[in-house]
Point group: C2
Chain length 454, copies 2
């Protein structure tokens, strides 16, 4: 069975606004994709057809009456199952969580709802958004992982089961699954999107963000998701903006290619794809220069692991001691590491995080965004969720990233570029990504005809 090309979020939004499509018809299209793909892909833990149809009718009535809540009005979305949606349980991929429905929406869910989005259901997360492989499969090859931890969100968007989805990233949990599944992902600046109502993994590293088909789709979602939330101690009161408008006036960006660690640590194919893409972007008018990492970058993977382990252990300690047998081996190992860490290990990691955050700013002296391969290679087998090492440095520094497909590898699976911006400069970052995407568009479109499922 061949996936059809599903509409992008913005294409659908235009059709809805023009009255050529109704929200209900769009929901039915998504449900048809779910019927077709879900048995093979396993992207969902809960699908609420009844509520989705009901909301779709209401949104359709509003549009028919001339109301316009913006680009998400009438758009079906999936929500990663660590995020509270009122009326649905939040299982976080674990048998230890209550089956009771959440009493209220997470702040970002309330924002999406108010913007007219239709919530189709909850998407599969790895156990507590960590590394234990989920049941979800990669739409391009069901022997392969979709990546994690936002596994269901990425796979559902790739197969058109929804037009966008909420993911979250503590290491590489947005960028990696989005890239493995041939869609786009955005990890915003740390503190940009509220964590209120989301099951925590590591409070110095957690970031919610959108997964969608295109950079423009991400911009539409982020414009709604972003914003200060007094209920979230991590949320920062920085002005956000209409990121979609920012994408529409994108100049040719100055790109900074990271060779050490990233290009040099990628598979030959990922390296070639990245270089071919940057060559093409240079031809199109972008400036491309190589940027050197600060010395403090060397420790990032180990220190990131320390912070994540300690903070996961801090949240899980009491339950873990009682129900250790109900934890998967990867999350159990992480928690055990955190329980064994000294306060000084953790203090030094936090001091290093602050230092690297500052040191990395110097990389942007002569460029707009950094460019790397989004992952070291294509999706590996389903016994793993893949290696997040190209993404966790940005979860650690809190710098915003956008990834989008740039090539198809010989194994038929997608490869992606990762762009990194300065803190709080999502507008510039998304604009640069939209510009780059427009010149790599032919490649991206070609790719969606490739996947064979089942």
């Amino acid at each position: 069975m061949k996936p059809t090309e599903p509409p992008t979020l913005l294409t659908a939004a235009n059709e809805l606004r023009a009255g050529r499509l109704t929200p209900l018809a769009l929901v039915e299209q998504c449900l048809a994709q779910i019927e077709r793909f879900e048995p093979h892909i396993k992207a969902w833990v809960l699908i609420d057809e009844r509520t989705a149809r009901q909301t779709a009718r209401q949104m359709g009535d509003e549009i028919a009456a001339g109301q316009n809540r913006g680009p998400l009005h009438g758009i079906p979305l999936g929500i990663k199952d660590i995020v509270d949606v009122a009326g649905w349980p939040t299982r976080a991929g674990s048998s230890l969580r209550s089956d009771l429905p959440a009493e209220r929406d997470a702040t970002l869910v309330a924002r999406l709802r108010a913007a007219g989005a239709i919530l189709l259901g909850k998407t599969v997360t790895t156990e507590f958004a960590s590394f234990d492989p989920p049941p979800t499969r990669n739409p391009f090859n069901t022997e392969r992982t979709p990546g994690g931890s936002s596994s269901g969100s990425a796979a559902a968007v790739a197969t058109g089961m929804c037009l966008g989805a909420v993911g979250s990233q503590t290491g590489g949990s947005i960028t990696r699954p989005a890239s493995y599944c041939g869609v786009a992902g955005c990890k915003p600046t740390y503190g940009r999107v509220s964590l209120s109502g989301i099951v925590p993994l590591s409070f110095h590293l957690d970031h919610p963000g959108p997964i969608a088909r295109t950079v423009g789709d991400l911009a539409a979602m982020l414009s709604v998701m972003a914003g200060y939330d007094a209920n979230d101690p991590i949320s920062v009161d920085q002005p956000s903006c209409d990121y979609l408008a920012a994408c529409e006036q994108a100049p040719a960006p100055r790109l900074g290619l990271l060779e050490e660690f990233f290009l040099s640590g990628a598979s030959a194919e990922a390296r070639e794809a990245t270089c071919a893409a940057t060559d093409r972007l240079r031809d199109a008018g972008a400036t491309v220069r190589t940027v050197t990492l600060p010395a403090s970058f060397a420790d990032v993977i180990a220190q990131h692991r320390t912070i994540m382990a300690v903070e996961a252990a801090s949240d899980h300690r009491d339950v873990f001691r009682q129900h250790r047998d109900q934890y998967g081996p990867n999350i159990a190992r992480l928690i055990e590491e955190g329980l064994a860490a000294t306060a000084i290990d953790y203090a030094r990691a936090l001091a290093h995080q602050a230092r690297l955050r500052r040191d990395m700013l110097a990389c942007f002296a002569e460029i707009d965004v950094l460019v790397t391969p989004a992952t070291p290679g294509t999706a590996p087998g389903a016994e793993t969720t893949g290696d997040p090492k190209f993404n966790s440095p940005w979860s650690y520094t809190g710098f915003p990233t956008v990834s989008f497909p740039c090539a198809v590898a010989r194994d038929g699976l997608p490869l992606a570029l990762q762009l990194i911006g300065r803190p709080w400069q999502e507008a510039k970052l998304l604009a640069a990504a939209a510009w780059c995407e427009s010149y790599l568009h032919a490649i991206r479109n070609g790719m969606f005809a490739i996947g064979e499922v089942g």
Copy 2:
């Protein structure tokens, strides 16, 4: 021997600008005060008369030539001996530090120097800015502590040995000594003044700030000390301003009195002095209402101690293991607590710090600044540095504070008010403090005639 009333920083600045006083004459006045008081007070670890006179001549020549570097031009200052000054050693109150001179100025010292300040020398700090009593004595009663850890800075300013001094606060190390010594102190917002070139105690709690005779003097110093520093990972890129100008247009503030923990935890005399001051301010046109603390405030003292202990231990561990006998009992106990803390204790303290920082914002809904007694009572005996519990909550939340004298207690020692502002609102806070100070001025002036030394 009776202390004469030394000029305030701003008074002296006016005289200097008008040509009625030269920087050299001002330095000589300070050196005369040092000769008179220092044998009894022991506020200094280093006095560099030669360099001070040399700088004074240069600053005098500039003023004579019509140059004006601003209010600090030609003003003699003291620098707490945890802050690097090029050419002088930084001993941090410890025998473990090198005698070698610092190679370069701390960022804030470079800023003060560029603004024309004359650096007289280094002032006594408790050992590593912690709690072990220093040799310094309180100018109002040499049996009493000057408070700590910025002991020498506060005592030197109180006796006119310098017109302002740099202090630092991790618990109550600016507000407490300033209040015990009858002068004013400002602990700015966390991240407002660079920590680059300063011996750390606890990087989530450390704040440098000015100690001076009046709120206006503090404003003049903070205007120079404040500002983003790319070299300090903690420094935050927030706009600062001319705080002195802000003080000149101060409206009657809306004051929020904290009864629980603060008024109720103060001595009868400190409580009465605070209430008498707020009554007087209400009569003068201020609004005074009682503000309730958030529930999360309850844990602040214990959690503050955990963060300080772990971060002190993180910096000192290796030296401490080798040279434990050269550490004072209080700092040794702190480091031992930090070595014994688990990573999870520390993670939970940091999460609590973020939570309380957010929760405290709600206290400002209907007021401009919070008001408390600056200390639970007057300075205790010299075997302690006093209790920082009214100050460490603000080192913990990072909210800016200003303290200034408000009364003289029956033991002849000063009492002070502490005002607390919202993060980054030092302009509003200093303006409110200047307004309050102007109505309590008669009290403050009377106080300086009281002290008997030796």
